[in-house]
Subunit: 333 residues, 2 copies
């Protein structure tokens, strides 16, 4: 077993976000559950919602891709595996992740469907409601896995969202096997409460099977996983099988349970909440970067809080400020 | 001559902006003139610069299109004429302008080149340096002019940038003739100092020929137009032929010369300068909206200052805040 040359490699949806403002009435009229992610299954559904939306901005997104972008901005050595189409938005996704120095070797897919996009509606309270057209992203084949890349990274990071489509789900299972065989750690995010609903048994199998070393969730997701309203019980039930369980709690900060020990961090104060898109993704980025830098669990949580605070202070799910400098100013380098 | 049913119709480049952070060293290394606009003539040039740029965000742009977006957000009835390709970025441009209620009837163009894009580098001082690949935009044919749309608007607004390519230049000349025959006013922006250099004689012919009723410029442009360092002389020389001459002066506010009378406005205070992209475009939006609302020259200048201040407080060249509310709070509705 050789020492890893990369810190984190992620597999996730390769998505371009379209971010627009909307009010609660609009969400209500369109039958959208505020704060959640729903899938749009046809180009017509995606076009129909887009046509009703206000003017937007486009920015590279995708949950695990946002996390990788954050880790790269924090100085981590990273790679990403995800499927774009050979089109303009696919080029945008590729440019943005490559510009961060992330190894991104997945070949673009020819023809339809186009590159995935996520129509994100941001309400005046800063909450985001996401509507994802998976497009090319759902066709990531197991054959596209870069085995060397996965074996070379200390941590393999997977997003629960990508459990929805069959082909990438199979690819992720294979990636887990590759990583474990190489002696690497596997990190996983539950992604979304409805996503947990759709895949509860699979996620519990992964967890109870000991396949996950680091689990990320928010309060809704961890409670949904165990179908309980008892937050502490849900965390404890997870921590029985997962060495490190990290749960974000919005303005109440976050906790990590490691063995029978619980650590917590307050949310980082912000001047103004603009758009919560990417909050969980960037928390995971900060925490994982802290771990690969050999920091303590407390310091890793603090890094997560700093990165999440930055990304919710502006539109878009990737950092605009120099988060490495923010971390160094607060925690030292 | 019937009363106009629209306030302003503009003809301009139909561009999607790609906005990324850069430092002065990057501009220097790429040989770019800070604060200016340069044209990229081939897809290879555009790809080459894009590949070197940091991760970006994409947002609809185009100078006159930004102005029209601002006027629409201020409650004006507007139309836009400009050429996109039938591709993803063309769809983004169309969606964003249509979502504002702007009449946009220009059919997308099939095949290559793709929709225009402007690679915008924003330095830490908030200055933007623009690199425009005109793409489909340069192929706006005179046959695409919507004569009814032009005749229906009180003001036809044209951008100097679109004087560069031959086909839209001819289309704009024809549009001026249509507007004047219908008894409408013609407004024109000089766009950029280098653009004035390229087309000084044409621009002076338009002005001295009495074709322009409202002219927009900044200090650099108006001085370049008359090849003088004497700002007041340059304004006066223009005002001999143009009923309303509006000149923006960055942090020093703006002036308007009407006949032999000079009006001025201070720059609106801002919390933080983030990105000057769209400052002039939104100043023109506020001023023109004030004029079509029947406000005084002073109040129209104040509206320009309010709109410009909003757009330089965030990334992107179109308003994010409710500029109509900002104007109403400051000036009354």
């Amino acid at each position: 077993m050789t020492a890893p040359s990369l810190d984190v490699v992620a597999i996730g949806n390769a998505i371009v976000d379209v971010i627009a403002q909307a009010d609660d009435q609009f969400l209500h009229d369109q039958g959208l559950a505020k704060g959640a992610m729903q899938l749009l299954f046809t180009p017509e559904e995606a076009e129909g919602l887009y046509a009703k939306m206000a003017p937007g901005i486009e920015a590279s997104g995708g949950s695990a891709a946002n996390t990788i972008a954050g880790i790269a901005a924090l100085g981590g050595k990273t790679g990403f595996i995800g499927q774009v189409a050979n089109d303009q938005l696919g080029n945008v996704f590729r440019h943005d992740i490559a510009a961060l120095g992330v190894a991104f070797t997945t070949e673009p897919r020819e023809g339809n469907p186009p590159t995935a996009r996520c129509l994100i509606l941001v309400t005046p309270d800063g909450q985001r409601t996401m509507n994802t057209f998976l497009g090319a992203s759902q066709f990531l084949p197991a054959t596209a896995l870069d085995r060397d890349l996965i074996e070379s990274a200390a941590i393999l990071y997977l997003e629960g969202y990508l459990w929805d489509p069959a082909e990438p789900r199979a690819a992720m299972r294979e990636a887990i096997a590759i990583a474990r065989a190489a002696g690497r750690k596997v990190a996983f995010t539950l992604s979304d409460g409805f996503c947990v609903d759709r895949h509860r048994d699979s996620f519990l199998d992964l967890i109870r099977g000991g396949e996950i070393d680091i689990l990320f969730a928010n309060e809704t997701e961890i409670k949904s996983l165990h179908e309980t309203d008892d937050f502490e019980a849900a965390v404890a039930a997870t921590a029985l099988h997962v060495p490190v369980t990290v749960v974000t709690r919005s303005e109440n900060g976050a906790i990590a349970m490691v063995g029978d020990q619980i650590y917590s961090v307050n949310a980082e104060p912000i001047a103004q909440l603009v758009d919560t898109t990417g909050a969980g993704d960037l928390f995971a980025a900060g925490f994982l970067a802290g771990q690969v830098q050999g920091r303590s669990v407390e310091q890793s949580l603090a890094m997560g809080a700093i990165c999440a605070a930055e990304v919710i202070s502006h539109y878009g799910a990737r950092p605009e400020a120099d988060i490495a400098a923010l971390v160094a100013a607060k925690l030292g380098s």
